[in-house]
């Protein structure tokens, strides 16, 4: 019976993902100008934000370690993918940015980006994960800054390499930097990357490794007393998470035709920085991968529609004032979420398509419980 249910769940999710892919292919074949200029870039940005938030959730939510340098891994991935694509182009593997050879190179550069980031995660993780809490946060924070400075000072990939006119336009013309048309044409690539990454991450947290790292999060001493090699699993998860951050970086370099290390800093003007990724994980729920997806999309849409959406203009004048300061809106949103959902939007539970028909009953039950609770409280007050 239980197995039957699992099979059904897989079937439903499989159909949903296939539909998603089909829709993205349809859009990329038939989309008009507005879709090309507004929807497609937004989808690409969502793609890398989702992978970033979910991969950090592995470390922050499931392993319980605070990492503040996650964008460092993303920077490594972005530069690796961009440089590899350029190297392949110069070696003459592909001429124009189309055809099977190009797609293979793109996929290879995604994987290479992830692998290099994972290796760096290993190198950083081995010494860093001996520490806990604040100390680990400081080390990872330092790591993010070191990476940015390293990249700036490596001659072939530094600031002077990929963000300035000639080199950035080389990346744009021949490498991974997609123009709006190519973003639309290859939107399925971004969606596919997200689906694959999310699937692997889900499988990871549902596997015995997932149970082990949750055990480490809940009580490190108890976990190690039950025979778990704590350091090994910590480092492994860290590297695993770094892999996906690297892939997100590769998506970023597709999305932005110019790479500048300031985009991967600890804080900056946009919603892509190490702090904001942590915020996304916290808002979504530490320990809920679907929560990270929801939060990443939510934060992105909030940011994107403040500037482009019509709903801001529909608000009364005195409210519009807030929206000229986007950073203020994020903080208010964060306050509201944390006040009403202290453990994030999803807490530690996951969202499942299979359960949607059961929602009305669950919601009813929830409110019945709340009502019962408040009745009890009132009774207690009366008795006093």
């Amino acid at each position: 019976m239980r197995q039957d249910k699992t099979a059904k769940r897989y079937l439903i999710n499989g159909i949903a993902l296939a539909l998603l892919m089909a829709v993205s292919v349809c859009i990329s074949l038939t989309g008009g100008n507005t879709i090309k200029l507004k929807v497609v870039p937004a989808v690409w940005q969502c793609c890398y934000l989702i992978i970033m938030a979910a991969s950090l959730n592995l470390v922050l939510g499931f392993l319980g370690q605070l990492s503040l340098g996650h964008c460092g891994f993303m920077a490594v991935g972005a530069y690796t993918a961009a440089l590899i694509s350029l190297a392949f182009q110069r070696a003459g593997i592909y001429e124009a940015k189309s055809g099977a050879a190009f797609i293979l190179v793109v996929i290879a550069s995604f994987i290479a980006a992830g692998l290099l980031a994972a290796i760096l995660g290993l190198i950083v993780g081995i010494p860093a994960l001996r520490l806990k809490g604040d100390y680990l946060a400081i080390i990872t924070l330092g790591f993010g800054m070191i990476i940015v400075n390293l990249i700036n000072n490596i001659p072939f990939c530094g600031q002077q390499g990929l963000s300035q006119g000639a080199a950035s336009s080389a990346l744009y013309a021949n490498g991974l930097g997609f123009s709006n048309d190519e973003k639309m044409k290859y939107m399925w690539l971004g969606i596919l990357a997200v689906i694959l990454c999310m699937t692997v991450m889900f499988m990871f947290v549902r596997s015995k490794y997932g149970r082990i790292i949750r055990a480490i999060r809940d009580n490190e001493i108890a976990a190690s007393a039950s025979g778990i090699n704590v350091s090994f699993y910590k480092v492994m998860t860290f590297a695993f998470s770094a892999f996906f951050a690297g892939v997100a970086g590769a998506l970023y370099s597709c999305c932005n035709s110019a790479l500048a290390t300031t985009s991967f800093a600890f804080t900056n003007g946009s919603i892509l920085n190490s702090v904001f990724i942590v915020v996304m994980v916290v808002i979504g729920g530490m320990g809920s991968l679907t929560g990270s997806v929801v939060a990443a999309i939510g934060m992105f849409l909030l940011n994107y529609t403040i500037k482009n959406g019509a709903w801001v203009n529909a608000l009364p004048g005195f409210l519009q004032g807030i929206f000229t300061y986007p950073m203020l809106v994020y903080s208010v949103a964060l306050i509201i979420v944390i006040m009403f959902r202290p453990r994030g939007i999803m807490g530690t539970s996951e969202f499942a398509l299979y359960d949607i028909p059961k929602w009305p009953a669950r919601i009813k039950k929830h409110f019945a419980k709340e009502a019962a609770k408040s009745e009890k409280r009132e009774e207690a007050a009366v008795n006093e």
């Binding site: 100008n33 870039p41 500048a260 300031t262 900056n268 003007g269 892509l272």
Partner: protein
């Protein structure tokens, strides 16, 4: 429990609304001042009032810049300059294309000084059907949108993106400022002309603007026989500690230190810390240093700002043409303050667009691009006369400006010193 939550929610909402009120009150102020200035513009253009009534259509210019965030001053000033130019042009009968007059309008987008946001803003403008864009303020942001401008066929004039390579590869990208290598040359020439032989550089290798200027400056120094004795980099353009770097400058014996940073760090951190580290020579910045007077903290020792110079695009009192003096006076009328170089360069971008549209006889992006690519046209604008070189960068001169501490009124004043040119 619930009450507590509600109260705190109200407090959060109250906080947000109070800030919103600040925001909206300033915008309502702007709204209040706008009709007044419109009225004055209408009065000044009384002769052409009839013309301003019947425009054949409206041409919308896109404006992208950091309206919020650490570099907000740049964006707001560019936008001020653009608005002034648009207002004046409309009052003077608009842009005449093929015998018909067109009014100008603007659509402004905020990029928060971030390249992804800048790209989003650009795409949004393009999808609104805008073909002529002014933006963005910094080289880093602008480099993210140049390729989109080219591939979508949208003309982009950056008022203050100075990185050399911005315009070299892209046919649709132009600028109204000079480029970094030229700015670096001017700085090196100033050092050579004034007899400095030992100079130092403190810069940020992570930033397009800062690293580009440093490259140009040290290359020109080598040509002119000026010795670069020490060179130090900081991690980010928003670093708050420069003490170590200036200790090294002092021990290397630098007489002049080149500081390609933005105004948000020079006022509160860089200059005071340089003096504290015992550096008493000349600090030479570039156009990013303009507006430092707005970031000097209250109660600071103002004497540290002596011997602090910077290269700039334009100085109000060295204004050479009629257009520039007219710009200065009308800007003061509208905004009640003296224009800085971002105001002037934003204003210029609109004037350049107007002339190009009139020359092309069309406001389609491709035609305007063709008109702008004509290197023989001389543009007479607020920051001087210039014509574009083949890459789309103006050939023009710069000015040297400096800050000095005035003991009498206990204030730091900014003044222009000389016009700088390279042969």
């Amino acid at each position: 429990m619930k009450k507590k939550k509600l109260i705190s929610l109200f407090m959060a909402a109250g906080m947000a609304l109070s800030l919103a009120a600040c925001g909206s009150s300033s915008s309502s102020e702007a709204a209040a001042s706008a009709p007044a200035s419109e009225a004055s513009a209408a009065v000044s253009a009384a002769g052409s009032e009839a013309a301003s009534g019947d425009f054949a259509g409206t041409i919308t210019l896109g404006v992208i810049g950091p309206m919020t965030g650490t570099l907000a001053v740049y964006g707001t000033h560019i936008s001020n300059g653009v608005e002034l130019a648009v207002e004046q042009i409309n009052a003077d009968g608009g842009v005449s294309i093929g015998g018909e007059a067109y009014a100008l309008a603007t659509e402004t987008k905020d990029d928060q000084g971030d390249s992804t946001e800048c790209l989003n803003a650009m795409n949004a403008l393009i999808s609104d059907g805008i073909g002529l864009v002014v933006g963005s303020a910094t080289s880093g942001c602008t480099s993210a949108i140049t390729s989109v401008a080219n591939s979508e066929g949208v003309v982009l004039i950056t008022p203050s993106g100075t990185a050399d390579a911005l315009t070299t590869e892209m046919d649709y990208v132009f600028r109204t400022c000079f480029k970094d290598s030229f700015q670096g040359q001017l700085a090196a020439k100033y050092a050579a002309d004034n007899g400095y032989t030992k100079v130092g550089i403190v810069y940020c290798s992570a930033d397009t603007y800062s690293a580009g200027l440093r490259d140009a400056f040290s290359a020109s120094c080598a040509e002119l026989g000026v010795n670069v004795v020490a060179e130090e980099s900081v991690a980010t353009m928003t670093d708050v500690d420069y003490t170590n770097q200036f200790n090294k400058m002092v021990s290397a014996g630098a007489e002049l230190v080149f500081i390609p940073f933005y105004y948000d760090v020079t006022g509160p951190y860089l200059v005071p810390q340089a003096r504290q580290a015992g550096f008493s020579g000349v600090l030479l910045g570039c156009d990013g240093v303009d507006n430092t007077e707005t970031t000097i903290p209250d109660g600071a020792d103002l004497s540290v700002y002596n011997d602090f110079y910077f290269i700039n695009h334009y100085a109000e009192d060295l204004a050479a043409t009629d257009v520039s003096s007219c710009f200065v006076s009308s800007f003061k009328d509208k905004y009640g303050e003296s224009p800085n170089n971002f105001d002037a360069l934003g204003y210029d971008a609109v004037l350049v667009y107007k002339k190009a549209m009139e020359a092309a006889g069309s406001y389609a992006a491709a035609d305007v691009q063709a008109a702008l690519a004509d290197t023989s046209v001389v543009y007479e604008i607020a920051s001087g006369k210039f014509s574009f070189d083949e890459t789309g960068t103006p050939i023009k001169s710069g000015v040297l400006m400096g800050y000095s501490y005035n003991e009498g009124d206990a204030a730091v004043t900014k003044s222009s010193i000389q016009t700088l040119e390279v042969e």
